[in-house]
Amino acid sequence: MAMNGESGWRLACGRELARLVDQVADGLPPAEPEHQRTCLHCQAALGELEDLWGQVRALAREEIVAPERIVSSVIRRIHEGLAATPREVPLEEVLSRLVRHALLETDHGTTRIADSVVAKIVDHAVRGLRGVGLTGGPPSASVAVNGSRVTIRLPLAIRYGVSLAEASAAARMSVIEQVEGLTGLVVDAVDISVEDVFGADAG
């Protein structure tokens, strides 16, 4: 079977080799089953094609497993990409990160109350109490804001001889009253840590 030019694709019996190729590759029924059964040219071509497609199918069955490192490499490159191209942060967002505000929504606008304002109110609320003192320089309380809700962490010093439980309960009550009364925010929690005792040598 010569392969020169278009005539090469025609068998000696006049049938087109191209037809037989698709018959074998796609597993189609023969167009002329009677002729194929008796034609030596067709049978020789079909034998050659069955052999070749047997190899193609063997190649298709060959097991190929991708290297596992592909997964970690892809994820690492995504992380690098995320780090290399920071998204543009709006000025609003930058400011709100520097100064955190509690928000009071009203029908006619929003009131923003800086967390430092809440911390100052906490200081005032504690200062007037007997047997309780603040640690460090004012404001010593730290305030976490979440919309109109606040959580307050308050380090305290307690006078020697005063019940820690009673003193911290009084401080907590005073803080909640003052913050909620003056700002309208809701206090979720006042977490007190007793850090110091004072007045021991005087007592």
């Binding site: 080799l17 698709d22 991708a66």
Partner: protein, 178 residues
């Protein structure tokens, strides 16, 4: 590549930026993606590069994927296009030596069957890129004509024509190297 039900959940989670979900998808689809790339390109290193780049492209383009069910076809399309681009840029920069003659001249260390399979593998990588992609997707990956037309963004008759020419070209090549 049939998309399982939980794959659809992974795809939608990844679309929302869930990197853990995407990592699971890469784990599941790394082998089909790599296999297509290796069979089109014929080189493991190139195939690995293309596979990685394809998944990165998929991560970036995921939010634009409307039909989550079509994820596998979509991924095949990304991989195939990247392979074809890689072939084009490779052709421009280097001329591959004719390894097939070297292979057949080698002493009979490998079995005849293996040698013929290797010859076939190389013959496939000598098909034109236009013929090679449909040939690999149909004969080696077992996709339907409709799926291949979808992956290569063309019509079924166009795919049938390209595939037909690919099969004849392969037959001719195998006869020459016999």
């Amino acid at each position: 590549m049939v998309l399982k039900t939980d794959d659809i959940h992974l795809v939608s989670a990844a679309q929302r930026g869930d990197l853990i979900a995407f990592e699971a998808l890469v784990g599941r689809y790394r082998t089909p993606a790599y296999r297509v790339a290796l069979r089109i390109l014929g080189d493991p290193t190139d195939a690995e590069d293309v596979t990685q780049d394809s998944f990165l492209q998929a991560w970036q383009a995921l939010p634009t994927l409307r039909a989550r069910r079509a994820f596998s076809t979509w991924l095949y399309r990304i991989v195939t296009n990247r392979c074809l681009n890689a072939i084009r840029s490779r052709r421009a920069t280097e001329i591959l030596p004719n390894e097939i003659e070297d292979e057949t001249r080698r002493p009979n260390h490998v079995t005849e069957a293996r040698r013929r399979l290797e010859t076939l593998r190389r013959a496939i990588t000598r098909l034109t890129p236009e013929q090679r992609a449909p040939f690999v997707l149909r004969e080696l990956e077992g996709l339907s004509y409709e799926e291949i037309a979808d992956v290569l963004e063309t019509t079924v008759p166009a795919i049938k024509g390209r595939l037909h020419r690919a099969r004849l070209a392969l037959l001719e090549a195998m006869r020459e190297w016999r």
